[in-house]
Amino acid sequence: MMNRLDHMPTLKIDGFRKIGFIYKKKKYYGVEGDTVATALYANGIRIFARSLKYHRPRGLYSLDGECSNTCMEVDNIPNVRCENTLLKEGMVIKEQNVKGSAENDMMSFIDKMDWMMPAGFYYNTMHKPASIWPIAMKQIRKAAGLGTLSPDFEMPGIYDEIFPTTDVCIIGGGPSGMMAAVAAAKKGLRVIIMEARPWLGGFFEYRSSQYKPGKDKGSQSLHDRALELDREVNALENIRVFTHTSMVGAYNNNLITGFQIGKESDLFDQRYIEIRAKSVVVATGCIERPLIFDNNERPGVMQIGCALRLANTYGLLPGQKAVFSIGHDLGLEAALELSSLGLNIELIADIREDGQNPELLQKLEDKNITLLKGWVACKANGKKRVKNVELSSIDGLASKTVSCDLIVASAGMTPVTGPVTIAQGKLKYDAHTGFFLADKLPEKIHVTGRLLGLDNPLSIETSGTIAGLQAALDCENCSIKEIGDIKKSLKNLPGPTRGTKLVTAPVKGRKSFICFDEDTTIKNIKQAIEKGFDVPELIKRFTSAGTGPGQGGIPGHNLPLYVAKYQALPDISIKPTTTRPPLVPTLLSTYAGTNHIMLKQTPMDKMQREDGGIFRNIGVWQRARYFSNDLTCKKEIENIRSNVGMLDASTLGKFRIHGPDALKALQRVFVSDMSKVQQGRMKYSAMCNDDGCVIDDGVITKLGENDYYFTTSTGRAGQTVEWIRYHTRYDKWNFHIVNLTDSMGVINLAGPNARKVLAKIVDMDISNEAFGFSEYKEFNIKDCIPVRAMRLGFVGELSYELHVPSSYMLSVWLMLKDAGKEFRIQNFGVEAQNVLRMEKCHIILGQESEQRTNLLDVGLEFLWDRTKADAKTIGAVALSQAEKDKDRFKLVGFKMEENGRAPHDGSLIVDEKVRGYVCTARDSFSLNEAVGMALVDGPLSKIGTRLEIYEDECNGKRIYGKVVEMPFYDPEGSRMKM
């Protein structure tokens, strides 16, 4: 047993199980159940970090992670809140943002320079002369930031995610949360509890005070009551408990997010949890409102809960000699408990003049503990840790100094309303409790327990039951009457207790910190207000208060109270500052979760990889772009022009459209007259958007009466059904679309030897006469594999596009390779196709077009049929309006002058202005010269026009091309028709 208190039932440590860890390169030991910070505390460490701006020493303050006082580097992960991070064997702990050590930080002199750094001082300094700023900025960057992250850091661990649905989600596993869960679960509902600590019990769990949970129940300790409720919750199968789970986000329609820290037995280190609930109960209880006085964050100053839980949960006496400066009965209770555990209580200063629980007063008297009512701590002294405290009466008239090594300081309670505000609930200042309480709640969200201002244990529990039943009512599983009955019983119990209003001790506030993380003092707030920043939200921006790693945890409640007090504003104008998610800083790795990358493979994926294909992700697909490291694809291209090759075109969109109104739908979306589509033939056409801009092109054939098959580009396949249905949504037409994209693999077998290869594996006559250009055939390979074949000429050679059922694709691929062996058939990839089709001036949308390019601009006006006005073809109106505009971009073909090389894709066409740009240009192996296509201003599109080409990095040196007729290769098209 290490030197810990060991007799309390509330302990969560196992003093016999030592856990070793490294701190500042030395080995230390904590015990099982310790957090990193409690283990360090047990080893005598009191300064955990230095503050961001002034490098002030910082110690244990809250134990619940509201501030970054205990942010350290743990296992190379920066900014870890050690106070609620469980200690694990072998952890390596380092200090952050210090020069030297946290104990002896050479930067601590800055603390004395605060007079130079009033609120917003950056804005008024370091810019005169201008040359100073870049130098100053470098220094600011170095000084700013807490932890260090290496650019090659690899985050270890397993991060998981789940997306449960539930009826009721309860945030907070304290007494009211558990009561709510039990009430809702007993109504047969599915319930989830999220609790930030590793165990249920909340505000009861660590306290040994006695209490009677009901008329018919005997007295028991709050701790025992917590255990009893825990058992009740766990006995109900329809309650799902997530402990060690912080709630971080709340969104419309009761979507709640959080993350859970994995236990030893879990497969995950952390997991992201996204809950969809019908109803939500917020039972987050309170944290403490920091008491503001000079050096109120000196190591040795801590909150009540921190001091009490150090002892009761972790078996650590927080100090030797303590002074309490508090404003809530919990402070008195804690003083009694800690005193009985051996802490010397020098004195208790209570902000309140009256209103204390008489029982507690009696006990203090019995124990001879001095209580000064109406007194408060004003200044903690001691350079690195507390040596003594100056106290004064609230009016500042009387004062005294008491030596001590611990100041337990707390202005009172403050409800954890973050979940309410981020769920779009509205808060209102309540003068009785001094709290911001929920005023307007979104639908199906309830607050309970201490969020109602309640303090009495039985009231808290009863309110929990009510909230559980209200949630059940949201799910239509409870009667209003039943809720009414319990509400009546709550009325007979103690209501909200009066809270303290005091924000700061009667001091000037130069070293009174309202925000620890950003080192913002009371004085800074005054400075901001005087500059005209009169609303808390603006003050936050100007002084940075509440924008540090702990966000509003420390200043959230005090800032608006202080601003109102300083401006002498009435209560009604006290408005809380905005709370934003995540309510607890959350690792990116946790949010990212499993992050499965979902991409599609074609049926030939594996074979092409085995053949050396170099793949690219294109939209949702992976495609082979090259088949060698020669990115000009010379061999692939030459092989197609002279021999035969295979391209995987499976990613093309493929659709069947059928039904009595199928033709009408096609007429609506395609610019051509689709009534001319025939069986056995392919028709090429395009789709435009309402601006007349081309969005897709493909081929269509007729399969039978009211039955068509068409292809789309790879990128549009996913939107085709949506598009056609959108543009016919008012028409009540009777047609049906089936997306067959994935059901067929597509091979483009191309090159002068294509027919010879194909003939070897099919039984029918595929001579040019029997199966001509632009024709469509259905046949079986080896009497077995049904194939849809089209003779198209995208690459400008004899080619067959074979649509083969995906499961058979491997077989067909192997047959073609086998059949092509004697010709040395080769694969070709997307880039080779790109060059081949460019030589033919066949456009690729997105390459020879941009968002604003219409059908006419790219020279596809021949596709547009103007005689079908009744069809209301998408884009037709815009095309007829725009065709008079001669200044529009036009697609032209060009060759380079003097046999020059091809310009980069994306080069500009210029004179004194930009007049267009190069879409695709290559040094053509087929033509032995550089050719390309460009979009240019209309007046430049005439054949013979000289194009002045401006490339990136050309240093002003232009190269020149000339507009020529398109296409460049085989203008008669004889090769693809052979």
Partner: protein, 407 residues
């Protein structure tokens, strides 16, 4: 004390019954326009009407990124001038706008994107703006945290590197311009809501506000994301705008890690490190119109997934705060600046989407010239509303945008 405690943008005054110019919206474009009207054109009888407080909207919620590497020749000169104005304004306003001229690195994830980048780079270079195409290795030298391996959703092929860009402290610009405008006599009326614009014979004659009616012959609506709704409600003019919520977030502060602004179209994400050391990142817009400025669970997760892939070391840091602002998007990702067109004396400056911050200084300057002279400056002419019915979209984006049904 070296710092006098005087309200930065003047003492509160009572709204008068008449001004030469009324500007609706207390954001950056309004403040800049007022500043230049007063400073360069001697028009000082100006009321800025702001429903909340200055900088409440986009001015306080933006990326803080500045750059001049847009796609078209209409846009580049405007943004270039805006970029050049930051040091000038710092001096003029005697307010440190904290221009961190760290350069922008726009990642490219495919051959097609590299080609598109070349065009943008050539356009920049043609207009005298520095911008270069670099390969993945060079990008990694600039940003060692980049993951240039192949096994991510969008492997990095290279980047467009734009050294003159960077980040500017956005709040400082708001307060600095407010200070400058107020010093020149402009009145800033916060917590005052504009309720209507009255016209007579198709000429502006007055503006009704929650604090009373103002007679005026010129009114500018530059109210960021709220502009389109105000313009429709007050004057019945419909605009080709979709108002979306755009989100951003910051991590806990770190020692220097990212020395440049990094952005990626494919991941739809940017990341840069603020002077405070936080990694600021964002860019997602839920593609349906709304005025909520709410953040989403969907997005913070998506953002973490994206950063996990291309800046994987960031898996070890924590998100600290997420927020949303409004982006008024047009179909061609370019703004609408128009005046004396639909109604005489009515000016609009809207449709800025998420580019409003980086342009504010230059737009303020030319909008002031427009209003002072009643002559549309040449640089604004391509941005008139009429371009949509003339089928002349701007070409600022190559791909179709997907928040309209047109996708």
């Amino acid at each position: 004390m070296i710092f006098k405690s005087k309200p930065l943008w003047g003492e509160k005054t009572k709204l008068k019954s008449s001004y030469d110019v009324v500007i609706i919206g207390g954001g950056l474009h309004s403040l800049a326009t007022a500043y230049y009207l007063a400073k360069e054109h001697g028009i000082t009888d100006i009321a800025i009407i702001e429903k909340n407080y200055i900088g409440f909207g986009g001015a306080g919620r933006n990326t803080a990124i500045v750059r001049a590497n847009q796609r078209t020749q209409h846009n580049v000169p405007l943004y270039k001038e805006a970029l050049d104005l930051w040091p000038v304004l710092t001096k003029e306003l005697d307010y440190n706008l904290m221009f961190n001229n760290c350069g922008n690195l726009n990642l490219m994830h495919s051959e097609a994107a590299m080609k598109a980048a070349r065009m943008t780079i050539a356009t920049a270079q043609f207009h005298g703006v520095e911008s270069h195409l670099i390969d993945a290795k060079e990008a990694k030298e600039l940003v060692p945290a980049l993951n240039i391996s192949e096994n991510i959703t969008f492997p990095i092929h290279g980047a467009m590197f734009h050294p003159p860009g960077g980040i500017v402290r956005h709040d400082a610009v708001v307060w600095g311009l407010a200070k400058g405008a107020a010093k020149n006599g402009v009145e800033i009326h916060q917590h005052t809501e504009a309720l209507g614009i009255e016209t007579k014979n198709n000429k502006v004659c007055s503006v009704t506000t929650s604090e009373g009616k103002i007679n005026t012959r010129q009114v500018l609506i530059s109210a960021g994301g709220y502009s389109a709704a105000l313009i429709h409600d007050m004057l019945g003019i419909k605009l080709p705008i979709s108002v979306l919520t755009i989100q951003a977030m910051v991590t806990q502060p770190l020692k220097p890690l990212l020395d440049h602004v990094v952005s990626s179209g494919a991941y739809h994400c940017y990341a840069n490190q603020t002077l405070k050391g936080e990694v600021a990142t964002g860019a997602h817009m839920d593609p349906w119109p709304n005025y909520t400025t709410l953040n989403t669970a969907h997005y913070i997760k998506h953002q973490a997934e994206a950063l996990s892939e291309f800046l994987p070391c960031l898996r070890g840091v924590r998100f600290m705060r997420i927020w949303g602002g409004l982006a008024d998007m047009t179909p061609d990702m370019a703004p609408i600046m128009d005046g004396n067109n639909q109604v005489e004396g009515f000016f609009m400056d809207c449709g800025w989407g998420y580019f409003g911050f980086k342009s504010c200084s230059a737009v303020g300057k030319y909008m002031a010239q427009f209003m002072a002279t009643d002559q549309c400056p040449d640089i604004f002419k391509p941005f008139a509303l009429k371009r949509y019915e003339e089928h002349r979209l701007m070409g600022e984006t190559a791909a179709l945008v997907n928040y309209t049904p047109d996708n």
